[in-house]
Symmetry: C2
Subunit: 348 residues, 2 copies
């Protein structure tokens, strides 16, 4: 009469444990563990194995990851950290990355979870929250802040690999670097080469995008500095039609002959507003976006865009798996993005 599920203080049945499986199968917990982890070859008879599996299935037994982690000293978790501010901005590029990354790592026996770190916290607070889960690896994505002391904290907490993906290298961490400045520089070089000299640069007012937009602006500035007579004007824009209309309404006063619009979505927004305000594109003002979205090819004129080439999710997954296997590898840069211009009709 001890075989019925125990009842907890709140009346809910306690989940079955490996001990319950063992009792039901009439074997010891050790045997259950061997069978359920495939370590049973030559140790446990086939008949016993069958009994154990049947008992586990009957009870709906699911192993307790926390207990396993505690005992084995390492978890199979790979934490993909994304600042909450950045999440709304990620878009289809990130979604594709995530799907690939997750699939590749789960094939290698890891469990990928995405942790959207709440806004308004220091990098160290965020790192502490990650460290509590004792993941095998932490991968920070693009705009997610990561400081050297966070890296140290994670490392001391036993995280074997810390990787900054698409962000500047951080001391102590591995990285797949992406130079956002290059994005701006490539766009600016193109515009300057085609004779434009007064460059507007759209910077989103949306939170969390500054980490991208500021280096991009700096890249434009750097490129422009080499051209006598070139000037750069930062332009704030919110991701709303009203904001775009407002900016377009005073466009001629700005005297710009080109604009680099942070990304394709902002570019599309501005392009539409400019056209509605009677500004001819690219005749009067050239427009360049970034990310090379499919949708940006649908507008007329088709949008010139800066495409970034980064190691994809599968490659990142392979890298992470290797860093977990070989924790000794010295931190360093494992791949660099390149920015590449896709010239279409919106810049002449």
């Amino acid at each position: 009469m001890k075989d019925n599920p125990k009842v907890g203080p709140r009346g809910g049945a306690t989940p079955p444990t490996s001990a319950a499986v063992a009792r039901r199968a009439g074997v010891s917990r050790a045997t259950v563990s061997y069978v359920l982890n495939g370590q049973a070859a030559g140790r446990v008879s086939d008949a016993t194995q069958a009994k154990v599996r049947a008992a586990a299935a009957d009870l709906g037994y699911v192993p307790h990851a926390a207990a396993r982690t505690l005992r084995s000293g390492h978890s199979d978790l790979v934490l993909l950290a994304v600042a909450a501010d950045v999440v709304p901005a990620v878009g289809p590029l990130f979604a594709a990355f995530l799907a690939e990354f997750q699939t590749a790592l789960s094939e290698r026996g890891h469990t990928v979870v995405l942790h959207g770190t709440g806004g308004g916290r220091t990098p160290e607070d965020a790192a502490r929250a990650w460290a509590e889960l004792r993941p095998a690896a932490v991968v920070t994505v693009a705009g997610t802040p990561l400081s050297a002391s966070s890296v140290q904290l994670l490392t001391r907490a036993g995280v074997s690999a810390v990787l900054a993906y698409g962000a500047p290298a951080v001391p102590g961490a591995h990285s797949v670097a992406m130079d956002q400045g290059e994005v701006g520089a490539v766009a600016a070089a193109h515009l300057l080469a085609s004779g434009r000299r007064a460059l507007g640069v759209v910077t989103p007012v949306e939170r969390g995008l500054h980490l991208f937009s500021e280096p991009r602006l700096a890249g434009v500035r750097a490129a422009a500095a080499a051209f006598p007579g070139a000037r750069v004007v930062p332009l704030e824009l919110a991701y709303t039609e009203e904001s775009a209309v407002e900016l377009a309404s005073c466009w001629r006063q700005l005297g710009l002959d080109a604009v680099f619009a942070y990304n394709d979505e902002y570019a599309m927004l501005l392009l539409r507003a400019l056209q509605d305000a009677g500004i001819e594109v690219p005749g009067e003002t050239a427009v360049v976006g970034a990310d090379d979205l499919l949708l940006a090819r649908l507008v007329r004129p088709r949008l010139t865009s800066v495409r970034m080439r980064m190691p994809g999710g599968a490659q990142a997954a392979e890298l992470v798996a290797r860093l977990i296997r070989e924790p000794g590898v010295a931190a360093g840069v494992h791949g660099v993005s390149s920015a590449q211009l896709v010239v279409r009709e919106s810049s002449g």
Copy 2:
């Protein structure tokens, strides 16, 4: 000389434990626990508390979530389950939801993690993977499969709340239901009311979207059945320009006077291709999308779209928090979406 960090088999330093903090502060582990969990009021002297905190800071101590979970019997994890197939399709609507949901729940002391379940697995396999983490709650998003037996498995594993968000109700689970059929029905009703009778329905060939597109198609069919002379033609479309061009090239042979395009992105793609093929929109063919994206307002003609109203991330978070607090609440439907037409220029 026992105070230096212990060295594991692979040479990496073992992370500091509460026992290490206790040794360094010259107190017992119990005291450390009390101090670090705010249970010290009236139990531990201020001087001792200060010593403990200092020791913890020195060592860079971070509590071990797995150990805490094991001991306390419940984790603070809230698992947001998303099928990997669906991830690439989620778009900005989901990103906004995630940011809100995560922020609201972390303020309530929960840790939200998104689990992108690998493709090609049964709902039960996926549920087992979720159950291993013993989360306090599991929330499945929109296209993520959830079967009644999965729910049972999760419940037996001690998950106190299972919520299907934006999906049909599942026996045993709570739900915030969204009737995808209604989306199609609303679009079709509008088109039929404005005199259209031959309705194309774009269904994406991309994996993982069938769970949305099929009910939407069924909704269109149901609405059309009420109109004598109305017919419905499903049209497969991939999310590429080539596919859209191909579809547009044989458009006139289809004899359609309207098309409902699954969502705004597919609608924009098709709209462009139709225009390039010389089909006048909305004159010859009306186009309706769904999701009411900002970008869809930028094309000309502006896109008519079906907007869905669902409880936002903050409301969902509040619901989940309540279900965790009160696990006894009978499973049921906690909110229903409504689909609402936003008429613009692409349908006349």
